[in-house]
């Protein structure tokens, strides 16, 4: 688990600053960038996964039962899923903090 940048000391760095924990960027949550969040209407959803396929942030997961849901820890709120959904079952709602 990487520490915050400002806590790193010289001795903590690998030679050449190599990062040997693949994919550790997941600790960085981009979810707080969003000003709106996608919400699914499961009545209309045909479980096709178009939303999942077009998400630039891998922030859409498949739930049990085959419906999709955003991983709000990462979802940046771009709105691509809502725009691309074939049945238009996703709406972007304002993020309330």
């Amino acid at each position: 688990m990487p520490k915050p940048m400002e806590e790193y000391r010289v001795e903590d760095l690998n030679p050449g600053c190599v990062i040997d924990e693949p994919g550790n960027a997941v600790v960085y949550h981009t979810g707080n960038w969003k000003s709106q969040r996608p919400v699914w209407n499961e009545q209309k959803c045909i479980k096709c996964g178009v939303c999942w396929n077009f998400c630039p942030d891998n922030a859409i997961m498949r739930k049990e039962g085959g419906y999709f849901v955003a991983d709000y820890e990462y979802c940046k709120g771009c709105g691509i899923c809502a725009h691309e959904c074939i049945t238009q079952c996703i709406t972007m709602v304002e993020e309330v903090v």
Partner: protein, 312 residues
């Protein structure tokens, strides 16, 4: 394309996400989306050499990395050469029995600046040397986005960027987009293709073909950048589709020198559909759009006739 969605999409594609969440690409960045799909198609046994640019910056702020595959960044203009070194290194280590024999694809990647401008020479050298198991992917968002939307030789005619601003005496970018795929084809390599972030299945299929060709192979991927194109983030997929449907960015592949159109477009839409709504083109007049329309039609027809003559 749409018929694919009649079935469950995640089943059609590798579910591993080797470009992880937590990367810092802008909202709606279809360049990140393109990277995601290229990685899905490539699978596990690759080494990536990434040029400086958006994808490098958004993915690797020390001590974090969004990469689940071996990845190296050295400088802006040398991804082709670094990937050559990786390919040569792996090859000789296997030949000398120092690492086990296994097919590992050396993948160079960079933006349009890294590919069509400053890194063109290094890439040309790499393609000319005919490295095996070698693929280069250009993620073309049509400007130097990472440094603040400056023009590149891949910026389309008429687009306003921060170094080709539109003004009283300027239409914005006043040169035509460099035909990088044709330059790659001129190296006589086994596989060249264009692809687009709005067509992930086509993109993945081409990645797989590129790898199967043995290499070197070159992919030129139009990657929609809402920030630089000045469009709302949710329209990133739509504009990529419009680029293809208007013929502005035709999808094709060139296998052993033979051209083949890969998107089925019975009738091109007018370029106006694509240009309007993009902030970078908002200053264009009807006359400007006419000029662009003529050029697009001419270039598209050239491709169609190549396609026809190559496919009997």
């Amino acid at each position: 394309m749409i018929d694919k969605y009649a079935v469950f999409v995640p089943n059609l594609t590798n579910r591993a996400e080797n470009f992880t969440s937590g990367h810092r690409a802008c909202q709606g960045c279809a360049e990140a989306l393109a990277v995601r799909h290229v990685l899905k198609a490539l699978g596990h046994d690759i080494v990536i050499s990434n040029a400086t640019g958006c994808m490098e910056i958004v993915s690797s702020p020390l001590p974090l990395t969004a990469w689940n595959v071996p990845w190296i960044h050295v400088t802006f203009e040398n991804a082709g050469a670094v990937a050559s070194g990786v390919a040569a290194g792996l090859k000789v280590l296997m030949r000398k029995g120092k690492i086990p024999e296994k097919r590992i694809v050396s993948v160079g990647m960079g933006g349009d600046g890294a590919t069509t401008d400053i890194g063109l020479q290094a890439l040309s050298g790499a393609l000319e040397r005919m490295h095996k198991d070698f693929l280069y992917v250009c993620f073309d968002n049509e400007a130097y986005m990472n440094t603040g939307i400056q023009r590149s030789s891949s910026t389309p005619y008429g687009a306003a960027t921060t170094t080709s601003p539109a003004g009283k005496d300027s239409i914005g970018q006043h040169t035509w987009k460099k035909n990088m795929a044709a330059i790659a084809v001129a190296h006589d390599i086994p596989y060249v293709a264009t692809a687009c972030s709005s067509y992930p299945f086509d993109l993945q299929a081409k990645v797989i073909k590129a790898v199967e060709s043995g290499g070197p192979a070159y992919l030129h991927v139009l990657s929609v950048c809402p920030t630089g194109w000045r469009i709302p983030s949710h329209l990133a997929i739509k504009y990529g589709r419009l680029a293809v449907e208007t013929g502005v960015f035709p999808l094709y592949e060139v296998q052993d020198g033979k051209y083949r159109m890969t998107a089925d477009i019975p009738k091109l839409r007018p370029v106006r559909d694509y240009l309007s709504g993009q902030g970078r083109f908002r200053h264009l007049t009807d006359t400007d759009i006419d000029i662009i329309q003529k050029r697009v039609t001419k270039e598209y027809d050239k491709l169609i006739s190549l396609h026809k003559s190559n496919n009997g």
